[in-house]
């Protein structure tokens, strides 16, 4: 009943989209993480004019669908072509590839900054006071005490966010990028065999996510040597 020949045909076809999926995920997760860290740190200062715009950015990107954000950046900003050309940014907003990366990065920066903000606030106050008492500068305290602890604390929540981003890259197929989901949709409408294509594409994503989760669990365990391994 299971048509092996068909699977052998669609597996390489779908895997051909994996490099693009990986590129989109890796770029937006790294850019988003850097932005998230900067946003989280900027909010530690408690300056009103810094905190409020960041809160607004976070609320907007967490409160609206990723698809709307992608369309707004790709189609919506495309409307301002003369202005974008004048300031030399048109090459960026012309390409669906860059638009997808911009939208995904901004989205994950918003979610990630909340995760990191919570983790930074979770660092026990006494440790920071001890660092200050031993004469460490604010920068040194941040680098040697706060960030190592906060980032390790954030790994479980952040790995959820990373999985959501890997899933989010599938939306790039709607703005014509042919990654795994885009290829899957094409194959389904060509072959009319939705289940086989779904199983294969799903297996690719599950393998990818499983690999990421295992790697992050290993990282967390490695950074927590005193905790007994379960």
């Amino acid at each position: 009943m299971i048509d092996l020949a068909f699977f052998l045909e669609i597996i390489p076809a779908l895997l051909a989209g994996l490099p693009l999926t990986l590129q989109l995920a890796a770029s937006s997760i790294s850019i988003g993480f850097i932005m998230a860290l900067l946003l989280a740190l900027a909010q530690q200062g408690n300056h009103r004019f810094v905190v409020w715009p960041i809160r607004a950015f976070v609320a907007v990107f967490r409160g609206t669908p990723l698809l709307v954000q992608i369309f707004l950046i790709y189609y919506g900003l495309g409307q301002f072509r003369p202005t974008l050309q004048a300031i030399g940014l048109w090459w960026l907003f012309r390409e669906p590839y860059w638009c997808a990366i911009i939208a995904l990065s901004l989205n994950t920066a918003a979610y990630g900054s909340e995760i990191l903000r919570g983790a930074i606030q979770g660092v026990p106050r006494g440790l920071v006071e001890a660092a200050t008492a031993s004469g460490m500068s604010r920068y040194l305290t941040l680098r040697l005490v706060v960030l190592p602890l906060a980032l390790r604390q954030a790994i479980p929540s952040y790995s959820n966010e990373i999985i959501l981003m890997v899933k989010g890259t599938s939306l790039a197929s709607i703005i014509t990028l042919v990654e795994v989901t885009g290829i899957a949709q094409g194959l389904i409408s060509q072959t009319y065999r939705a289940v086989e294509v779904f199983v294969t594409a799903g297996a690719i994503y599950l393998t990818l996510n499983f690999t990421i989760i295992s790697a992050l669990n290993a990282l967390e365990a490695w950074l927590t040597p005193y905790r007994a391994r379960v």
């Binding site: 609320a59 907007v60 967490r62 409160g63 609206t64 669908p65 990723l66 698809l67 709307v68 954000q69 369309f71 707004l72 189609y75 919506g76 900003l77 495309g78 409307q79 301002f80 999985i163 899933k167 989010g168 890259t169 599938s170 939306l171 197929s173 709607i174 989901t181 899957a184 949709q185 389904i188 409408s189 009319y192 065999r193 939705a194 289940v195 779904f198 594409a201 799903g202 994503y205 599950l206 996510n209 499983f210």
Partner: protein
Amino acid sequence: MTYILHFLGFGQGGWGAALLVASGVTLALSVLGFLLGAVFGALSAGGRLSRRLVPAGLAKAYGTVFRGIPDLLTIYLLYYGGSIALTQIGKFFGSAGFVGLPTFATGVLAIGIISGAYQGEVYRGAYQAVDLGQFDACKALGLSGFQSLRLVVVPQLMRHALPGLGNVWQLVLKDSALISVIGLVELMRQAQIGAGSTREPFIFYIAAAGLYFVIAVVTASVFRYGEARAWRGMVHA
């Protein structure tokens, strides 16, 4: 500026009414999908908590698969898979063309399946947070299994489940925009239609984003109210 705002108004050539109706469709789609997801989620939590291997394994696989693969793929599977099956049945009865599934029902089913996977995790965690003494008390009072679930366990479980359910609801609301890909005219699709026919994509997607945001904020307060109600009479941090 007035030229642009005119597109979102309610007068001649204004899309205001269409966008509001579409917001209603989005809300209905999300609410029904979320409720269906509650059924799947409860079944899945029941499976996960079961000591028997088959239900536990099935529930675990369900949660892993639908939380791990892109929602767009699930939507394509249901829509195309269902339509292909329906077309086959149509052929059998002598119809020639492609028979598409009803998009609203497909959307509700897709959101139900996806959110059920997330809700299952929430219910499982909340069930385990109910104090064990409560179960002993149920036995002591001679309540049947169903009675103790309905009268004792579920009301207490909801206290722990509501924050997580609020998060799932926000996820559902945003996921509902993906149902636009199968052609259901909800908020996202209506914004696309408006953007296409007026060639003003920016204003229409901003309007859609604004409406999603308002729905998200207003419905979040419903969950906060529910949480306050679930904890009434209890001292809690």
